[in-house]
């Protein structure tokens, strides 16, 4: 071969190797694309995330654990998205929608000319297919419960190739938020397994990348068992930046299975991973100290939506043979007892010692992190042992000579608090509470239990006295909390399986929650939910403790790093992330 030909071939080969990354497809005619309003970046690079464990599946319908949802969430897209920064809904695959005056009918206009990551076009048939899968009883998708309101399913109909109509059995507040996270599935790939009844086996971890297609910013490139999942750019992604360049900027997104949060921090420090979210305050302080060396971007976003609480067992024990516990429930059901406990708890120390001051004390279920729904007029009583003693005295409790508390019938007040042994923060809270209550003369034992054993006791056997647990953190909207506050709800932890509300205030809460669910106007809903918060803070079914701040960190060269309070805190804008040529000089925000 002539030298020139060889040289040309070599150059071509080199070029091919260099451009081995998938290039984005240029925006086509007829494609209706969404435009990002973020700072523009440039193409190239990869971002590595450390994860606690492997994802269990790549099937968005079956993904229930956090890691699987994180990975599939980058590969899939939904019709209407909740922007994590603003906490409001925005158009995604549906470019616009109309709501009927009674709030029951949603007509969505899909973007035209959109293609899946394998090039196949997307239209209303895929939407119909997707919802058929979600609603199918044999598939048992957890999302199915979201789409059933009042026992009746939402119906989906196709109006034309790019228009879909959703009919709700009755008006539902913030119904648009339901669409967030409901991934649109490719009919051309999944129809066959679905009809064959083999949907549960579809898109497991060993599936070849060519068999998976989604509308997300990334598509599957490679899965190495026990080590990592690699996603590559989706060349047909339907969003562009301000300069009309198709997103995402990154060539690859790598999920590394690192293990515990501590291992994640170690890898982040050594530069193996580029982003880390939901840091504990101890680790955040550590990274803060190392900041001069690493120049990492650190973000403290303020209070999260999670709420931690002390729960007393007020369940009906009925047929169960738990007599000793039944005796103690006399105390737990006494409002003054709970108020005394709440007054004695040192929330300030919890925030300082457990969250290293990066947290907020809570007296209700909605904390300062939820700026749209918090009832700011609720009182925040300071800690007072005196008040606590008064309350106990007025409830008939008394102290003996060695300051041991006894109830009106003379029984010594002694109980145990169970908590998950794997959650160090809640264990610490339990220890602090134990010490606080010992100053009231109560003998409290802290019993760490393995997580599933704890769940079993709280949900099934009811064989526990008190527990320190946490809930919340999903969405800011009150609707996902229905199951916690309504008396028939499955997360109504202090008194599960109520046939009807056990107290007047629970009846009132039931009514308020049902009402807010169908009230479409925000101001009216807020008033209703404010009253719910007021009742909850007064009646103390949970004794609220504190909430941690949302803490995240990133490689200094990562651009458009905008962590949010809602999950997924750092990856929600993965399509807008890019690698700078020079490090970001900002310090801690």
């Amino acid at each position: 071969m002539k030298a020139i030909t060889r040289l040309t071939l070599l150059v071509c080969l080199l070029a091919a190797v260099c451009f081995a990354a998938v290039s984005p497809d240029k925006p086509q005619l007829g494609e209706e694309l969404a435009r990002s309003s973020e700072t523009s970046g440039h193409y190239g690079g990869h971002v590595t995330i450390g994860d606690r464990a492997e994802p269990k599946t790549l099937n968005p319908v079956l993904a229930t654990d956090a890691v699987s949802r994180e990975v599939t969430g980058r590969m899939m897209a939904d019709l209407i998205d909740i922007n994590r920064a603003t906490q409001q809904t925005e158009a995604a695959l549906a470019k616009s929608w109309k709501i009927s005056p009674d709030g029951r009918v949603f007509t969505l206009q899909l973007r035209k000319g959109i293609r899946f990551s394998d090039g196949h076009s997307f239209d209303a048939d895929d939407v119909l297919f997707t919802f058929a899968v979600y609603m199918d009883e044999k598939v048992d998708a957890p999302q199915r419960d979201l789409l059933i309101i009042d026992g009746k399913p939402i119906t989906v109909t196709k109006v034309d190739r790019y228009t879909v109509r959703f009919t709700l059995p009755r008006p539902y507040a913030s119904a648009e938020r339901l669409f967030d996270g409901l991934a649109m599935l490719p009919k051309h790939l999944l129809e066959k397994p679905f009809h064959d009844g083999k949907f549960a086996e579809a898109w497991s971890l060993n599936t070849a990348p060519t068999d998976i297609a989604g509308l997300g910013a990334f598509r599957l490139k490679q899965y190495v068992p026990g080590q990592k999942v690699v996603l590559e750019r989706n060349p047909y992604y339907w969003k562009v930046d301000r300069e009309n360049a198709r997103l995402p900027y990154l060539d690859e997104l790598v999920f590394l299975f690192v293990g515990t949060e501590d291992s994640q921090v170690m890898r982040f420090e050594s530069g193996d991973t580029d982003m880390i979210s939901r840091l504990s305050s101890d680790n955040f302080t550590l990274l803060h100290r190392e900041h001069d060396r690493t120049h990492a971007q650190l973000a403290d976003l303020g209070a999260s939506l999670e709420y931690n609480f002390l729960l007393f067992n007020q369940n009906d024990l009925g047929a169960k043979k738990l007599d000793a516990l039944a005796q103690k429930q006399k105390w737990f059901r006494d409002l003054k007892f709970r108020q005394a406990v709440s007054a004695a708890i040192d929330r300030d120390s919890i925030v300082r010692l457990v969250y290293g001051t990066r947290g907020a004390a809570l007296w209700g279920n909605v904390g300062p992190g939820n700026k749209f729904w918090i009832n700011s007029s609720l009182p925040h009583p300071a800690r007072s042992l005196e008040n606590a003693r008064q309350l106990l005295k007025s409830a008939g409790f008394s102290w003996n000579r060695s300051n041991v508390l006894a109830d009106p019938s003379g029984q010594v007040v002694e109980f145990s608090i169970v908590t998950s042994s794997s959650n160090t923060q809640r264990m610490k809270m339990a220890t602090l509470i134990q010490d606080d209550l010992s100053q009231l003369g109560m003998q409290v034992h802290v019993v760490p239990l393995e997580f599933r054993a704890l769940i079993d006791r709280v949900f099934q056997s009811f064989d526990y006295e008190a527990a320190v647990m946490g809930l919340g953190g999903g969405d800011a909207d009150p609707n996902p909390e229905m199951n916690v506050w309504t008396s028939s709800g499955t997360s109504h932890l202090w008194h599960l399986h109520e046939a009807e509300p056990a107290t007047d205030w629970e009846r009132e809460v039931d009514q308020l929650m049902q009402q807010q669910m169908v009230t479409l106007e925000y101001a009216k809903r807020k008033k209703l939910y404010d009253r719910v918060q007021e009742l909850v803070a007064q009646q103390l079914p949970f004794i609220f403790l504190a909430t941690p701040n949302v803490l995240a960190a990133a490689n200094p060269r990562l651009g458009n790093f905008h962590p949010a309070v809602l999950e997924p805190n750092t990856l929600w804008n993965a399509d807008e992330l890019f690698i700078r040529n020079a490090p970001e000089t900002a310090g801690v925000q």
């Binding site: 501590d262 291992s263 921090v265 170690m266 504990s280 101890d282 680790n283 302080t285 550590l286 000793a324 040192d346 120390s349 300082r352 010692l353 145990s416 169970v418 042994s421 794997s422 160090t424 264990m427 610490k428 339990a430 220890t431 602090l432 134990q434 010490d435 034992h445 802290v446 019993v447 760490p448 239990l449 393995e450 054993a453 079993d456 064989d463 526990y464 006295e465």
Partner: protein, 337 residues
């Protein structure tokens, strides 16, 4: 007895006495939280200040500063010996308020610093030693008793009892117990006090450990049983019990003692491992295991080195026991043959 053996036995006794007198030696109540002083470094004793040298060492209060803690030089707290402080009990019998040393309130003499709740680490190490060493000894006793019983039965009565017991021991050794212990805690009733729950768990580990001592004892019984004097005794009509008591026990005794000295530190270490999985004694009681389990957090491990104190205590105890075991081994083996 050689002086080395005597010295080691004195050391072991000394160690146990120190732990028993934890209340006296520790300046603070191990459960007393000082929430203004979490993760404070060890207190520094001074002999010299602006006014010159002092005979009595003193310390300053630690107050939060720009980077961690700094000393508040406004007030000095001299170290006193034989002070009255928080009450405690020795062996549940003797009530006392005397402490070997201490400082006046609101100063705090934290010899090994404080933990995440501001509790004195030194006091917790001493009290924790009581629990950990007691757990080690208790588990060892249980393991050895169970093992000896099984070994005697297997070795003495032989053939199918032996086969089945040994197969049982192999079964036991094959199961990955760590996994199952995780589930066992959930079983125990919530109403036991934390210390009692813990000893119950210790009993469980002890019972798991019968297999190795059983094999050892069996080996010895087998070898002794075939000796001529035993056969002769049996020919003369000696009962099984007599043979066990008179001939087998003395041999077994020596091995058991050595085994005991070897097993105690191993079971103390097992307590640490259990605590790492949340199965140890629960708050606010301290044990070396649950003090070390907080070090699982990387941030704590690198930032607060003084919390490694229980490792020092653990290593010292284990080395003493191991040396004792070595000496016993050579001493007793020498004499038995």
């Amino acid at each position: 007895m050689r002086t080395r053996t005597r010295a080691l036995i004195a050391l072991v006794i000394g160690l146990h006495v120190i732990l028993l007198l934890a209340g006296l030696i520790a300046p603070c109540d191990p459960a007393a939280q000082n929430r203004r002083l979490p993760y404070a470094p060890p207190s520094r004793l001074h002999l010299h200040d602006a006014a010159g040298w002092h005979v009595r060492p003193f310390l300053y209060r630690m107050v939060p500063g720009s980077e961690g803690y700094e000393e508040d030089r406004s007030q000095q707290f001299p170290l006193h010996f034989l002070v009255r402080g928080s009450g405690y009990q020795i062996l549940g019998l003797v009530q006392s308020e005397w402490h070997l040393f201490g400082v006046d309130e609101p100063g705090q003499f934290a010899l090994f610093g404080t933990d995440g709740f501001g509790r004195d680490e030194f006091s917790r190490v001493l009290y924790g030693g009581q629990i950990s060493v007691a757990a080690g000894i208790a588990a060892t006793l249980i393991a050895l008793c169970a093992g000896t019983l099984v070994g005697l039965l297997a070795g003495f009565y032989g053939r199918w009892i032996d086969d089945s017991l040994m197969a049982g021991s192999e079964l036991f050794l094959s199961l990955p117990w760590l996994y199952f212990l995780l589930g066992v805690r959930a079983f125990l009733p919530l109403h036991l006090s934390p210390v009692r729950t813990f000893f119950l768990l210790t009993a469980v580990i002890g019972l798991i450990g019968w297999a190795r001592p059983a094999r050892l004892v069996r080996g010895i019984v087998l070898s002794v049983r075939s000796r001529n004097f035993v056969l002769a005794a049996q020919a003369f009509g000696a009962s099984d019990l007599y043979v066990i008591r008179r001939h087998i026990f003395p041999e077994v005794w020596a091995v058991l003692l050595t085994q005991a000295a070897m097993l105690v530190p191993r079971y103390i270490a097992a307590e640490v491992t259990l605590s790492f999985f949340g199965l140890g004694v629960s708050e606010p009681v301290s044990s070396w295991g649950n003090m070390l389990s907080t070090l699982q957090q990387y941030s704590v491990l690198v930032s607060y080195g003084w919390l490694l104190a229980p490792i020092g205590a653990l290593v010292i105890t284990s080395v003493i026991y191991a040396l004792l075991a070595d000496t016993l081994h050579s001493h007793l083996e020498f004499h038995s043959t």
